[in-house]
Symmetry: C2
Subunit: 383 residues, 2 copies
């Protein structure tokens, strides 16, 4: 399990148990059952693929945005950092239809509800038009891009997805946080090989990693961050007070800007600083995304395309490795294999995440005993 | 002229003179006049914007691909590295039309002829469908991406363009050249500000820069290149024998792969190593590209969009600068200002480029006296 080395405080839980437990929490936040299940599925799916940063560790934050626990005063709510603001019953809908390009109003639902609807819509549309694009506004945090592009892959299409993100970078040569790291997801079907699935942001590292380095008192690798004046730093505290560094300097920041503009300005969402800032978080309903699907079979022979993809991936596997590299993965391959293993052996969750889930559930009167029971004693050391 | 510091052997030539002189060379290579003028315009436009790597310095190579000079034997042609193979009379056409996604057969014309036709076609289509995408096959080198996306910008659309490129990178952790740096162009209209125009490849630097460092005997900056075993190097000779390093490590190589796949596999073009290799060059007619246009006005209020773009660009200009940065440019802004200055003062060309143009013209009986006359004595020192 290269992606997620085990620790003694890590427990394994079955994928289905995790998903249904989290769905109950979101249902208790006022979400209709189908939406609660969808939101839970997207988060559990990220954990299943080893992408825990976008998994169920987000549940307390999301639950707070959806609806603060009952009984908390406005002051207590503010202190607890649970701000509400997201519409648990939001129903996204198409508000503009230009034939193959659409605008979708997320109705201030969680971004997952809006983007999943959007990807379904563009997949359906691309069956008629070859390609379809949707800009999504009035939206919120939407989790990992991989979920959406995998839906396109399952429909034998190339999928693209991107989202605006809170600004953590400066334009190249600058010192102010005004550009998000705005990730891009791309999914491309293969034949017998795992599909090509990339999901990357355009900063050199995630901000969460800098937080961990800071907690542990370790210096950052060079090239990850800039201080508040825009100068390179390896001090994680200076980086947290400063900026993440874009990959490829001006190149990465330009790609991030383009993705951010396309994610927001076509749908009335808030680009960059208009979404919010790191200190106060995002304004509810100001986030934006875009998704796109390209129907391979409408342009070329699908089976031949998949054979060529297999050949490209095989060429990677057969290529020479640099010293120290045991194996070369194509994009998404490690996550694909992780998902197979975790589906079989259970998903590792650390005690902190389990405990956060338990308290979020308890505050809303949700019974989580099945999940906690499943986790009890199932540390990954026993597997 | 920050983009292109002058030297004593640099001459200024008027944009129109350069463009029409180069058009005569391409016409003498057997291209129909309109195609010769278009190809010349794309190259002169790159020089006009200060992007000389994709400008008229490519003329000898292109002329050789289009048609070797008369009188050369097959052996002499091979020795001179002029291989022909590109169809000077190629007429690109739509061969598959799925509504908003198209496949275009470049008829083995120069990539500029195919891609310019493709961008015109998707712009026209996007007026009806909101978005349109074209995959281009049976194509060749297509120059800078910026030309195509600026056409979309001129039509008040967001433009995207990408191309497959000869493999210069390895998958991350690898040591074999099997991935191109496959550039992405994005153009987004603004109001009173210059449009957002990015055109970047996903290697840390251009291979031509490594060549220059090698010629001068300078060490490369760290992070630019890997040796033939896939290990970091600052030795330009080892880099030329090895690999360019992707920006953001696995991130850059994944983006490049996705762009390369979308540029080739939907249109029967040759992905990666199937296009050719650095030693032998590309196989004629095996290159591929894609272009896309997104009609802003079909999705949102165009004037409001442009106002927002102006505000985003203004925010960049007003933002704090890192020490040592005199001015922060938005993507494409420096090139925009360079074009204004060069249109007024002439385009600087060094003696080597002028001399290459002269000999390429002479070998085909083309009179270049107007260009050489214009250049004579007009070094940039006199301006």
């Amino acid at each position: 399990m290269a992606a997620y080395p085990g620790t003694e405080t890590e427990r394994r839980v079955p994928h289905e148990t995790l998903e249904s437990a989290v769905a109950r929490i979101f249902a208790a936040c006022g979400m209709p059952d189908a939406c609660a299940r969808l939101l839970a599925a997207t988060l559990a799916d990220a954990d299943l693929h080893g992408v825990h940063s976008h998994g169920v560790m987000r549940v307390p934050d999301y639950a707070g945005r959806l609806t603060p626990p009952e009984g908390l005063s406005a002051v207590a709510t503010k202190i607890a950092g649970v701000r509400g603001g997201v519409n648990p019953e939001g129903r996204p809908r198409v508000v503009r239809d230009a034939g193959a390009a659409l605008v979708i109003d997320g109705d201030n639902a969680m971004g997952q509800i809006a983007c999943d609807f959007a990807m379904d819509t563009v997949i359906e549309r691309a069956r008629r038009t070859g390609v379809a694009f949707a800009a999504i506004g009035n939206s919120n945090h939407c989790g990992a891009m991989a979920w959406y592009v995998r839906k396109a892959v399952a429909a034998d299409m190339i999928g693209l997805a991107s989202t605006n993100a809170l600004p953590t970078m400066a334009p190249w040569g600058g010192a102010d946080r005004i550009v998000g790291m705005n990730p891009l997801g791309v999914g491309i079907p293969a034949g017998s090989e795992a599909p090509f699935v990339m999901d990357s942001a355009f900063a050199a590292c995630a901000r969460g990693k800098v937080v961990v380095y800071n907690q542990k008192g370790h210096a950052l690798p060079p090239g990850w961050a800039l201080d508040r004046d825009g100068l390179p730093t390896t001090d994680p505290a200076a980086a947290l007070d400063g900026l993440l560094r874009p990959i490829g300097d001006y190149k990465g920041v330009n790609v991030a800007m383009a993705l951010g503009i396309m994610s927001t300005m076509l749908s009335g969402a808030g680009y960059g600083t208009r979404l919010g800032n790191l200190d106060d978080g995002p304004h509810a309903g100001r986030d934006g995304q875009f998704v796109m699907a390209l129907d391979i079979g409408a342009l070329t022979d699908l089976a031949e395309f998949k054979r060529e993809m297999d050949a490209v991936i095989d060429e990677i596997h057969r290529s020479r490795r640099a010293p120290g590299t045991e194996r070369i993965y194509c994009a998404g391959e490690l996550e694909h294999e992780t998902a197979l293993a975790y589906r079989r052996d259970g998903i590792p969750l650390n005690d902190e995440t389990l405990s956060d889930l338990a308290s979020t559930a308890a505050a809303r009167g949700v019974d989580l005993s099945d999940l906690l029971e499943a986790a009890r004693g199932r540390t990954n050391l026993s597997i």
